[in-house]
């Protein structure tokens, strides 16, 4: 036995290193945000104030607008990703001719892997002008009495632009999870449902119900990707401290706030700490979302292994 243990022990430092990096990361976030917590307490998360000042005693930071923007844009993203990824999974598995199935999967894999900055440049020069002219302006001109459409789309940089871009970016991730689950549904179930005289629609509805945990997991993972995305979002959201119910208003997200402000944060006494506190909230949102997604994925896998 002893030689086996020696092997284990020689590998151990490398695994430990992965944990070490993660622990160090957590430590860095805690120690760096401690300052702002002791100064402002929970107000760093519950207020929307951004007072950067040369005089430290006047400084005050609250990142509520960024948290709001992160959640708002990510919710838009998964509302877009949900129907599209389910439909695409059904299409690839059930409808597409054999010859192009593989290519349809490759296409979404490319989308999932494409550098995010490419989504960014496309978002700035193509998507935002398109949404502004064909979606935001008509809706604002005709329906601005609805709060969702009440903000004048001056630049086009807005929650909506960020949410739609994120929706496009995360759809492939959700699709991968849902498609795999949908494909794995044992053939005998499909046979059984069609044998009962179901139409394609009815049969699909039953199968989709069956893979619900996988769909939930896919959506949560997509939400996690959306909330953590930085550069593409920061290029199209407008980077404004703002809490507005309107889709067309500019805003901030946690990650775009960090990307935008961290470069010059060192001029101020407390801004670095405030940004680390913002990062810490993203850290925990990310952790919670991932654990939740794994929980649902495991539930799905277990329901599969019982068959």
């Amino acid at each position: 036995m002893n030689f086996m243990d020696r092997f284990k022990i020689s590998l151990l430092p490398f695994s430990a290193l992965v944990f070490g990096i993660f622990a160090l990361m957590l430590l860095v976030y805690f120690t760096n945000s401690a300052e702002i917590f002791s100064r402002e307490g929970i107000k760093i998360y519950t207020t929307n104030i951004w007072l950067a000042s040369e005089e430290p005693e006047k400084e005050f930071y609250g990142v509520l607008a960024a948290i709001y923007g992160s959640v708002f844009t990510s919710v838009i993203a998964i509302l877009i990703a949900l129907p599209i990824s389910i439909a695409y999974s059904i299409f690839v598995v059930d409808f597409a001719p054999k010859k192009i199935k593989e290519w349809l999967t490759i296409a979404t894999d490319i989308m999932a892997g494409l550098p995010t900055i490419i989504y960014g440049i496309w978002g700035v020069f193509v998507l935002v002008p398109f949404l502004k002219t064909y979606v935001m302006e008509p809706l604002y001109n005709n329906l601005s009495f609805i709060p969702l459409f009440s903000y004048p789309p001056v630049s086009g940089y807005s929650y909506l632009s960020a949410g739609v871009l994120l929706g496009i970016m995360v759809t492939p991730f959700a699709t991968a999870v849902i498609r795999e689950a949908y494909k794995m549904v044992p053939f005998t179930y499909r046979e059984a449902i069609f044998a009962l005289g179901a139409t394609k629609y009815e049969a699909t509805k039953v199968i989709i119900g069956y893979i619900k945990p996988a769909i939930i997991a896919g959506m949560i993972l997509a939400f996690g990707r959306a909330i953590g995305e930085t550069v593409a979002v920061s290029l199209v959201i407008g980077n404004t401290f703002n809490i507005s119910p309107s889709l067309f208003a500019p805003g901030y997200t946690i990650s775009s706030l960090i990307a935008n402000q961290f470069g010059n944060a060192f001029i101020y006494e407390y801004m670095v700490s405030a940004l680390f506190a913002a990062g810490l909230s993203l850290f925990f949102i990310g952790l919670a979302i991932n654990l939740l997604a794994f929980y649902f994925l495991r539930r799905w896998e277990e329901s599969g292994s019982r068959l």
């Binding site: 092997f7 284990k8 590998l11 151990l12 490398f14 695994s15 992965v18 944990f19 993660f22 160090l24 990361m25 860095v28 976030y29 760096n32 599209i84 990824s85 389910i86 439909a87 695409y88 299409f91 409808f95 593989e102 349809l104 490759i106 296409a107 894999d109 490319i110 989308m111 892997g113 494409l114 550098p115 995010t116 900055i117 490419i118 960014g120 440049i121 496309w122 700035v124 020069f125 193509v126 759809t171 394609k200 629609y201 009815e202 699909t204 909330i227 953590g228 930085t230 550069v231 290029l235 990650s255 990307a259 961290f262 470069g263 990062g279 993203l282 990310g286 991932n290 997604a293 794994f294």
Partner: protein, 285 residues
């Protein structure tokens, strides 16, 4: 034959359903083609006009000139190389550990942690590395950028390694042990070699991933538009970083360079990704 009084309604529903699925599927795929089209449409003329100088030259002043993205291109390769040097050994061995000791506490914890890290917001890694490397060293540097990228690469490589190893039927493991090999020999001389395609796939995906990363470089690599490479402890450029910076400038020629750089970046990505993805089907075992 029993007549289903509802059959018309049911069939109409089915038709609507099929139409909806097709419509939404088109919506899923259109952005990809539009993005590919836009990048080629806007980037190709820049590449053709700039010629080889676009790949080797440096950034011009704002105005009419096109110049080149040489320092960023060099920087991307340097960063990918350095980050592999740091990240690959750790990732491969962590992946082997998780595969070899799947029931041990540390093995399970490693797997879970790697999966969490895989989904982690990359900007957080950049901020972390700034605090532990850039501030103590007093400058943005290639090594800081590479370290941030290594942290991002690790989970991809480790998780694919783990999966590739675990897919090997246990009979090969038994056969290797029955020949009197040590565990290290079983793993490194037999299992890793059987799984080498899967592992290589993970490595290449990791490389493709970090070659396109922007956020973790914002506060670590620093960027460089005039100097190609000044040492691993000096600031360095990267294509994604350059694009991000150029888009935010108001100058028309900078936007053109950004499109050209996007095309270069996309071609690098596709050149790694497409052959890899096509080969994947052939992985036997």
């Amino acid at each position: 034959m029993a007549v289903d009084y509802n059959i018309d309604a049911r069939l109409i529903k089915e038709k609507i359903f099929i139409a909806l699925v097709i419509l939404l599927s088109i919506l899923a795929i259109v952005p990809l083609f539009h993005i590919l089209f836009s990048v080629f449409y806007n980037g190709l003329p820049v590449l053709l006009k700039g010629g080889i100088n676009f790949l080797t030259g440096t950034l011009p002043p704002p105005g009419e000139e096109l110049g080149g993205i040489g320092p960023a291109l060099v920087g991307t390769f340097v960063l990918v190389f350095l980050s592999s040097l740091i990240g690959l050994p750790i990732a491969l061995i962590a992946g082997i550990y998780a595969a070899e000791y799947p029931t041990s506490f540390l093995g399970r914890a490693t797997k879970l942690l790697l999966q969490i890290m895989m989904e982690f917001p990359t900007i957080l890694v950049g901020l972390f590395v700034m605090q532990i490397l850039v501030i103590p060293l007093g400058t943005y540097s290639a090594i800081a950028g590479a370290f941030a990228l290594a942290i991002i690469m690790m989970p991809y490589v480790a998780v694919t390694t783990e999966e590739a190893l675990r897919e090997i039927p246990s009979t090969y493991r038994e056969a290797a042990f029955s020949l009197g090999f040590s565990r290290a020999q079983v793993v490194f001389k037999v299992l890793v070699k059987i799984a080498k395609r899967g592992i290589l796939t993970g490595v290449l995906i990791g490389l493709a991933k970090v070659a396109g990363e922007t956020a973790p470089l914002l506060f670590t690599a620093g960027g460089s538009t005039r100097i190609y490479f000044a040492g691993i402890d000096e600031p360095i450029g990267a294509i994604p970083l350059l694009i991000y910076q150029l888009i935010q400038q108001p100058y028309e020629n900078y936007h053109q360079i950004a499109w050209g750089a996007s095309l270069v970046l996309m071609l690098i990505f596709l050149a790694i990704f497409i052959p890899l993805r096509l080969k994947l089907r052939e992985v036997r075992l």
